[in-house]
Point group: D4
Chain length 227, copies 8
């Protein structure tokens, strides 16, 4: 792909890293001279030290043949202007960071894909880390359901049981599915079957139709967080 | 829980929102006067407009009885000083944002939980949004495996087939598991069985032991992104 | 009318002056505290010292019942964000200043009326003031035609002649029409007829299908500016 | 002409554009280094990066042989000092922007032509755009009279009538004159005669001795703005 | 007198001190808040913390009944704008500091009294202090003549002589006049007569038609500065 | 002379002008880069862009062979440090500007010649210019006495009289001496004798033992300023 | 004592702490508002938020009855001005920090006690901490001699010996004297005698006429630092 | 030794001076460009103008083979981050300045040697200089004991006596030991014996088990400071 990244700041920089690593042709537009220079030094990409809210700059960046443009500046107003100009220049795929949740709708109205509330996402992770420290990672599915990674505690009711046994003992509700089992830091998770025995210390990937509520997570041995 | 949040900036603000919403007792420490005032106005929490790298400030914030402290300033050095002082004051659960990946190890050495590379996470989402726009959300499991949400395209090989049929036609590999099916914006995803028929427009939650590679995702009808 | 004016700077201030003078209900949104205070002191209007790129601010300003919103900040990106939010809030008439001519199209695409290039307009006036000092004011009609005000010089060919005489002597081309005659500073211009005699010192309002070219203006006695 | 332009900011830049385009010899004086460089890069003119309130600078700019000097800085005090020095150096034609209306008189006292209140002009245009959106452009003639461009609405009383018919039906008052008719975006306006039929969508140039009052504009079909 | 002083900086402050001490009614206009406050605290005068280039401010300061206005800001352009506005408001006596010698003429043209080059005056004093340290103070009379104060050196030819003797010995040229003699720090200088005996250590006030040249000053015993 | 001038600001610049004009060898020390460059461009002198409160800088400036050092920065503290270092380096003649009158004594204690209160001097000139506009220049002699230049008004009692007549009519007190008479802009003043007739318009240099009080100046025709 | 401390920065703050703790009457002068407030809050002393280079401020601080003044600002020039004013006000004991070693002499010339090079002192401590980590503290006596504290290493030649034995075995040179022995963290050091036995882990206070050279320190068991 | 010095500010600079003078191989890391350049110019060492809180920078500085790292920046948080990274890179000897006494413990916890409160040390010296001016230098030994240098006053009880006589007269308590005598500015102090006679003006190095209390110091003739 030919990708234009607008902004080489906190978000733009790892993005450029990722996009160049994956072998894409990347052009960066960054207004700040120091940041532009650093990006130019660190990554294998063309860096324009210019204002991306100018059509000319976007054309110089190759907007006519770009497959995608990603706007990552920390000003929503700047991002929207960049996206509108990119639309005018017919960039096929346009994505933007949005900082103020109130602005989400505006971006959607004009047909720009958005990365919803990056800071909120981080905030939620941090909050989980203290409110339910046993949950390592998680992903929302619709309104309630969740997939989450959880470590099995030493005294967990499920520890030492096979999935079939756990099922028979009604330890796992109908809405819950153990998707994968990571054990001893092995690279590849085990796809669990009825005969798979869960051990303390396992890192389970679990799907729960009702989310990671205490009722669901208790069986994995973490009772500390009934808040 | 009694939670101390250090920093009321881009990350701290939604975190305070979340923590107060969940009914926790929250104390915010923010050095910048304007931010401190805004936080105080918006959330039901105590806000100290002071320097969190002072033990006295942490004590004023109730570090002796706090269940957790989350450090969210944009300076890793500040975060580490705050975490060390919090350790000295015996705060049981200490979490910190880390901005520079090189500093991850240092935080781990001193025993602080960290939120790994928030900006990298965002960058990866943005990159996926342009490189694989059909993937709505995703979560890494170990090194390779992934759980991801994907919409079923109109011409997808799997569209119109039951899971059993898909299985019989070898459309879905052994390492792939369809975990949940969201349909027509219903609140609760369907837990799929062998007789469940996949339709174009369904939003599937899929587990893949080898990640969301083209080989895995093609069956859901998205061929555009063989980069 | 109920009018929201965004920005109380160089352009916003005389606009508020005009709009309040005409008896409209005016709400001003200005981010800068000092400017907000000044506007509040000087004009009979409500002034919100807040950020207009927030939907909440626009709602506080009464966007739901406003007849019009005029965005006058000196940042095009800010103006476009304000206009998009105003559209979302269904303000019926939205107008914006646009500073960079490249951005005109973007504003038009999203359906916002614009005030085209205010600085260019001023520049043209200034240029006329030195290149054709006898032309007091002017207005472009389409690509070439112009209406302009011009003073009759003491040695002007037309001075002392009636319009009929001027017509007979072919002093005035077919594309030229004398629309009005201001004389001796009288409040009301004379609507000219065939018998109206043009005098040196008259201030004529002239329509010319080919613009205010030297060929057209020479008859009014100004030969100095054949550049 | 040989023209000295003082200031290459928001107003100075389009002025230099205009003046160089028209083939004049232009010298720009701009104190700010960045602006001076940009002007030098973009236009075919000499740019002095210096302080125009120094006689030496004005002499370097060729004040002794300049036909005109236009002062466009955003400080009235600076403009007046520049104008006084230009007078001392006998520049024949001196024009200045004036920002504070209170200062108009001072400029006139010392004999400098001024561009009256550029921001007020813009403010009036913006206000018209919301209070009488059908009026596209306008020009004041004396105290009350106006020339204005107006689009004919679909239900306008005058639509479908010849001018003679309109006159006979008393649709157009004695103080009103239709000067030109632009139709279908043609380059040249039609000079209207008695037999010219006005159509909905036409863009008329109208002279009205009493200004663009509702009484005058109603016949063109715009009743929405009787405020 | 009723005096308006514009600027309460390095020059304005001692001026206000002097003017209030002499019992005048003084109004100070100072834009900088801190300086305005300090002046208000220290002196018995009204202080307006406002912009003096506004006619309204000058009217608030009582320009209509002021006997004089003295403009002391460090910007010549500001001073000239203030003076022009003061003229428009008919202040009878207007004086201004001028910093750039090139601007002297401009001030004179518009009829403002000026304090010529304050810094040059100081520079000359400093230069004298090193080039002719025996000269304590001096004043130019026309092009060449000077009045100066000089101390009589211990070995001065004139020391111990009466003025008559000095005259007879041709020590004092025809163009030189000893105007006053200060001795032993007495408050009142002695008006010298022919019998007055000059002593080493006396501080003489001398008039010289040719200035304080070495030829003139040598008789007072200072030979060190024949440069 | 070899002179070191510290500071190339408002006072230092005309001082360097004067000192280089008089053929001295001048070295300038100025910390600010821009000022240093300008001084270097304009004057025939060596300019060190360095901190003068460093002994090394003063040595580089040739303090060991300098005849004099003049410190003109706008910080008294800086000036005193420079003077003390210059004393340590045995510069024979050291002079400094002093801004705060309270600091005069301190400079004198350490044996530095000072230029007393430059701003006060200017302030006094300005004040005289409005309080006694007829007095053109003046110099204090001791506590009370003054030498001053005054123009003879058209209705002055002394106008048209010889000095002898004026003396006989007791117009001039015993403490007053007319030192010189400038007439018609001639280069050389007239040394007045008993037969010299004073004319309206003459510019007199007058010595008065009691200062330029109204009693003294009235005879020269200026009654306006009995304040 | 009545002590005036000038400056409440890095050095001034612990000084005020010390001086108030010891029961002195302390007045602090600090120009920075924030620092002044903090000092006022933390210590039992009067704090003047003013400029100490003003005689008036020093008088307000009670300079007439002060026993001592300590100037601790980070500007040598400011410190010297403060000290000179304090001398003029006859403060009996005046001490100042000096930052630039070149300025030491100047302070001494005017008779001010100085704290020599605080940063150099710290630098030397830091350097010792890495070059001779066994030396805990030290003090120079004249040019070469030193008193130092050193811990006795486990394999030190002197460990386990009485001083007499050490003397007899020539372990300790004639220029070395063991002054005190701290053992087991006891409050009071032991005054050593011939029969006192040195043990590994003792912290000795040693005087050496030739300084803490390796030859001298080896006997205490630290050979690592022969650099 | 191979030493890395972080920070080339007030403390870092004399440290680099010392460390290079002693023949060590020194690498300096300084973020500020100006400071980095100055250090590079003045000292024989490698200077990296970079951020020391980056592991890469420390590696570039040779952290893998460094014998020691000394962190001297004025931010405790920065110092601790640098120290933690240096630990991770296994630098054998790590020392840091600590500014806030509250942070001492944190540094100790992670095992970093610290230079305790440099500003407090200076403050104590300054305080001694005014409270006991006769004490020239001092060093604490444990809680109470001190070694100090003191000058013998002209009327001191001990002046003119041998140590034996002083002992016999009980002038010197059992806890006090005169360690060395500096006389007449000689390079080498005298090691005192019983027959050594103390003279007024001698500079004594004294050990006192109870500190430099008035009871101890009175015998050396300084009674002024019984506070």
């Amino acid at each position: 792909m030919y990708v234009i990244v607008v902004g080489a700041g906190d978000i733009g920089t790892p993005l450029v890293d990722l996009a160049t690593d994956s072998g894409n042709e990347v052009v960066v537009i960054e207004r700040d001279e120091e940041r532009a220079e650093r990006a130019s030094r660190q990554y294998d990409c063309l860096v324009l030290n210019d204002d991306a809210t100018s059509k000319e700059t976007l054309q110089d960046a190759g907007a006519d043949r770009a497959d995608a443009l990603i706007s990552t500046t920390d000003q929503d107003a700047t991002n929207i202007m960049v996206c509108l100009l990119a639309q005018e220049l017919s960039v096929p795929n346009i994505v933007s960071v949005v900082h103020n949740p109130e602005h989400m709708n505006v971006f959607e109205q004009i047909g720009v894909n958005t990365m919803q509330n990056p800071q909120s996402l981080i905030a939620e992770y941090l909050y989980r880390a203290v409110s339910r420290p046993s949950i390592v990672d998680f992903m929302h599915i619709g309104e309630e359901a969740e997939v989450f990674e959880i470590t099995v505690g030493p005294d967990a009711p499920i520890a030492g049981k096979t999935l079939r046994e756990a099922d028979e003992e009604d330890l796992i509700g109908g809405q819950t599915l153990i998707v994968a089992v990571e054990r001893n830091g092995a690279d590849t998770p085990i796809t669990p079957r009825g005969t798979t025995r869960i051990e303390a210390g396992d890192l389970l990937t679990v799907y729960s139709g009702v989310g990671a509520t205490p009722e669901v997570t208790d069986v994995f041995g973490h009772t500390e967080d009934h808040d």
